[in-house]
Symmetry: C2
């Protein structure tokens, strides 16, 4: 295949693993990095390249770690990879970070003529594994061009937000504000209904046909109805992502009371030890405050 | 038509007028009442029955006024209609009220063997005019039976929430919590995006394809993009409806922080003199706080 690229994926968590496997499926040589040796072993079993390889051989680096600190570490830390990349390589920053962080990473990559694409992802674990993500990307044309094979293999939709680094991360923050508030509000409305004698399954049946519905409600309320909090996306994502949104808003002196209220609910859920559960478990914050028994819970 | 009924509709505002016209279209004799003589005149022009008629001739009374106080006034005030109704007539309570109010109205109707259907409506002005509402109804089988011709002519979907009066109103409150929070959060996310350089039309294009979307976002964000705040549903609805939800929650000692945060934003909008504008005008609360210029506004 003439188009075969040599790639590295940093972070083999749910999303990064899915992206890395999608890149393998497209015929690329993919090196996978993760602090979790077990994740690396599973990736090699899927056909991932053995070992770290030569940074100078890479065409693109996908950074799919948890946050800004990890992004900086893998790019510019003591063992940071950017120093070893050849000019013209592209780094795709896929973690949810603030626009300021994205701009800083891009500027530092530019110092060695490495392109940076501000490329946060959306769509969840299942879509990551299928190469079916939505990517909210911004950056110069050269960064998009160099990243094209990666984008093609991992995303069904690439929203090009413009040439300016930071617009991709800003759009991700916008989406996370809406998604996080919608999950918390679904939990609030569902449990409020329970206090009035409306069962969760009835709530879902009716609301999905009413003006009060949302994408997140239809995706997450079934987890509460089933009493299944196996994480597809965990509670712990939200204190992080809504915290980033709040930081951006603070820097702009912009009040975001809905975001702040949702952040408080997810922090309460994490504080109750639910951080590793599916984010629909924010309903337990409401249920415990009111002595309600959710489906699947012991009475 | 053997099934022709003699009906009364109290309240010929946007929703009541649409319901009354739908009932006329179905072949019923419909008396329309409103304090606004102009609304009554327009209804008579559409074929509405002249004058108040004989309450004892009525098969059903649709109460589509603004709130609990008006509902009580038209049913049990000095000129209240219930005293003149014959046993077996049904009253449909369509205003958004608390479950407690619905239970009180039903109990007082029962004293003269008048049925009561707790029947709040959802769907907006355009659907009301088309007989295409969703009705969230609860009440005994006899109330549903007697109300059947009205429900058939006005609603495409009747959610039977059960025999217990109050469940319909509770479900309406659940829907209003979600819908109100979703409108306020749409406004927050859209204006937050503007502070980061994302134009409102771009926000809408991208978010409607992402996990952050909601029914209300897709319905209301276009009003902001177009700069058109002609009310389809006004800001003033929300301090009332979210206030009812908060009252219900308070009575149940149940905390609803998302609802409270949205209520504060709509109260701020009303306080800024925007009460009569489309509810998407809650975006102006955010825009003015941050010096943003929304589409269609003077710079």
């Amino acid at each position: 295949m003439s188009n075969t690229q040599t790639l590295a994926v940093y972070g083999l968590g749910a999303m990064g693993f899915g992206m890395a496997v999608s890149l393998l499926r497209a015929g690329h040589v993919v090196h996978g990095y993760d602090l979790n040796a077990d994740a690396v072993r599973r990736f090699v079993e899927q056909g991932g390249a053995q070992g770290l390889g030569d940074p100078a051989a890479l065409d693109a680096v996908v950074v799919c770690v948890l946050n800004a600190a990890q992004t900086e570490e893998v790019l510019f830390g003591p063992d940071g990879i950017v120093a070893g990349l050849r000019p013209g390589t592209v780094v795709l920053g896929c973690a949810t970070v603030s626009p300021d962080i994205a701009r800083d990473m891009a500027a530092r990559c530019a110092a060695t003529e490495v392109h940076y694409l501000d490329a946060p992802i959306s769509g969840g674990m299942a879509r990551a594994a299928q190469g079916d993500l939505a990517i909210l990307a911004s950056g110069p044309a050269e960064a998009f061009d160099q990243a094209a094979p990666v984008l093609e293999a991992t995303a069904s939709t690439v929203h090009n937000m413009g040439a300016e680094i930071g617009l991709g991360s800003a759009m991700k923050a916008v989406n996370q504000i809406l998604a996080g508030v919608h999950i918390a509000t679904m939990a609030e409305a569902l449990t409020f209904g329970m206090t009035q004698g409306i069962a969760p399954d009835r709530f879902l049946d009716v609301i999905r046909q009413c003006a009060g519905t949302s994408w997140m409600l239809e995706n997450r309320a079934p987890h509460i109805v089933a009493g299944d909090y196996t994480p597809t996306s965990s509670v712990n994502i939200w204190p992080k992502d809504l915290g980033i949104a709040l930081d951006i808003a603070d820097a702009a002196s912009f009040p975001v009371p809905m975001t702040a209220a949702a952040l408080a609910q997810f922090k309460a859920a994490a504080g109750m030890g639910l951080g590793g559960e599916d984010d629909a478990a924010v309903a337990k914050v409401y249920a415990r405050a009111a002595g309600l028994t959710l489906p699947g819970e012991q009475t």
